[in-house]
Symmetry: C2
Subunit: 252 residues, 2 copies
C-alpha cells in the first residue's frame, strides 16, 4: 500500500497524477491537506486538534482530507488512518514548483517526505518546475515517477535516506536523471510593504532566489537548468559534522 500526501491540497493536479501512477502498483491511501499548505516545511499542529474527512472509499483507493500540515497528514495517516497497515512507500507531490536549494527548508512536500522517513518508510518527494495552477500538465513527469516508484518498491532505500525528485520545466528535452546535492542560496528582497485602507502597513512575502553555488556541478539547480531530472538523497540529520572540532575549539 502506498501512502500519498502533498502540500498543494487534494484539488491540485499534481497529486492526481501521482495517485494515478501509484495506483498501477497497488492500493493507495491519500492523506492530503484540506487547504493549500505551501511553505509549511515540517510544521506540525500542536495547539489545535485535527480533523480527517474520508472523501473517497473505493477498492484500492481511499482519500482522506486532513485539516493540518503535510507532516500532520503523514503522521495522522500512519498512526490512525491505515487500519494498522504499514505503507510500503510514502510519496509526496507532485508539487507545483521546484523544491530545490534552500527552499527545501520551507517545503511542505519535503515535510511530508521526512515524516515518512522518520517512520522508516521509503519516502520520495516529487516536484515539477511548472508553477501554473490549476492547469499544469504533469505528463512529462509520469515516466520518471513510474520508474522511481518501481525501483524503490522493489529495492527499498538505504536506512535514513529519502529522495527529493525535481523534474525540469521549460529546459528543453529531458536528458535523463542525475543524482544531485542540495544547492545553497537564499531569498532576497523578501517583502513588499503595502498600506491597508485604514493606513496601517502590512507585508507580503515575495522576492527572488539567489543561487550561491551556481557553478557547483553536483547540485540540483545546476542539472535541472541543463534539462536533467534531479534526485537528491536527503536525511533528517543536520549536524555539521565537519565543524565539530572548530566549534569545540571555539566554545571550550
Amino acid at each position: 500500500m502506498i501512502l500519498i500526501s502533498n502540500d498543494d491540497g487534494y484539488q491540485a493536479d499534481g497529486i492526481r497524477t501521482l495517485m494515478a501512477v501509484a495506483r498501477e502498483f497497488g492500493d493507495v491511501v491519500v492523506a492530503a491537506p484540506m487547504q493549500q499548505q505551501s511553505g509549511k516545511g515540517s510544521a506540525i499542529t500542536i495547539t489545535s486538534p485535527l480533523r480527517a474527512v474520508m472523501v473517497k472509499d473505493e477498492p484500492g483507493m481511499r482519500v482522506f482530507l486532513i485539516s493540518g500540515t503535510p507532516a500532520d497528514c503523514v503522521k495522522l495517516a500512519l498512526d490512525q488512518l491505515l487500519d494498522g497497515r504499514h505503507p510500503d512507500l510514502v510519496l509526496a507531490g507532485i508539487n507545483h514548483g521546484y523544491n530545490v536549494g534552500v527552499s527545501t527548508l520551507y517545503s511542505g512536500t519535503m515535510g511530508a517526505t521526512f515524516e515518512g522517513l522518520v517512520h522508516h518508510v521509503p519516502s520520495v518527494a516529487f516536484s515539477y518546475g511548472d508553477y501554473r495552477t490549476p492547469h499544469t500538465d504533469f505528463t512529462v513527469c509520469e515516466p520518471f515517477v513510474r520508474d522511481i516508484i518501481s525501483r524503490v518498491l522493489s529495492k527499498g532505500l538505504p536506512a535514513g535516506v529519502c529522495l527529493n525528485v525535481n523534474v525540469p520545466y521549460d529546459k528543453g528535452p529531458i536528458q535523463g536523471l542525475k543524482i544531485t546535492t542540495t544547492s545553497m542560496g537564499l531569498w532576497t528582497n523578501e517583502f513588499e510593504r503595502r498600506t491597508d485602507p485604514h493606513g496601517v502597513e502590512y507585508y507580503w512575502m515575495t522576492g527572488y532566489y539567489e543561487n550561491e553555488t551556481p557553478d557547483d556541478n553536483t547540485t540540483d539547480i545546476y542539472w535541472i537548468d541543463r534539462g536533467w531530472v534531479s534526485v537528491t538523497p536527503c536525511k533528517v540529520d543536520q549536524t555539521a559534522r565537519d565543524n565539530m572540532v572548530k566549534i569545540t575549539e571555539l566554545l571550550t
Copy 2:
C-alpha cells in the same frame, strides 16, 4: 546589534531572559511572534500578509511583534525592520523545552536560527528542558548564554554553521558544555482520538519520543541526560552525501 526571536511568543519567560543577557553586549532588536508558534519548524507565511507592531522603542531596545512564524519574524526583521543594519548575531529562544533529536525538524526556535544562518548571520538557538510555563526560572541558563554570546560575537562561527544549545533541566548539577550530534528517533502513538459533542471524531497530537540512538555517546540527548549543556553545530544542507553512490546504483 543582536536580533532575537523565539517560538513561544513575546510573553514567554525564556525570551525575556535572552533579551536581558543579550542587552549586556549592545543594542537588541526583538522580532517575536504575536502568538505561540511551537512546532512550526521553518514554516513561512506565503498566502497571507504579515503585520509588525512595534511595542517597545527604548534606547538600545526595540521590540516588534509579528503576526507570523519564527522564520517569518527573522526574515521580516532582516528585510524591513532594522533600518538597513545587518545584525551581528541572531539568537532564538530561550525555548521552553528541549529541541533535540528529530524534534529539531519541528522546532520553530531552530526555524528562526536557520533563517539567520541562511542570511549569513552567526546564529544560535537556546532551549531549556523545563516545560513549565509561565513560571520557568531560566537563571541556570544565563552563564552559558552569556559565555556563548561572548565567544560567538568575538570569534564568529564557521560559514554555514549555526548552533543548537540545550540546557539540562532536573539532571543534577550542570557539568559543563559538550559539542554533540543530533540523535535520531521518532514520536510514537502520536494521536489521541476524541469525539466532539456533535459525534464527530477529532485528533490531538500527543505521544512520546523514542530515542533510537540511546547509546551513541556523541549525541545531544546522551549528554543532556548526564547533566551537560549540549551544543550541536547545525547546517541547512540535508543531502545524504554518504549515500550518493548507492542511490546512483539504485536509480540509473
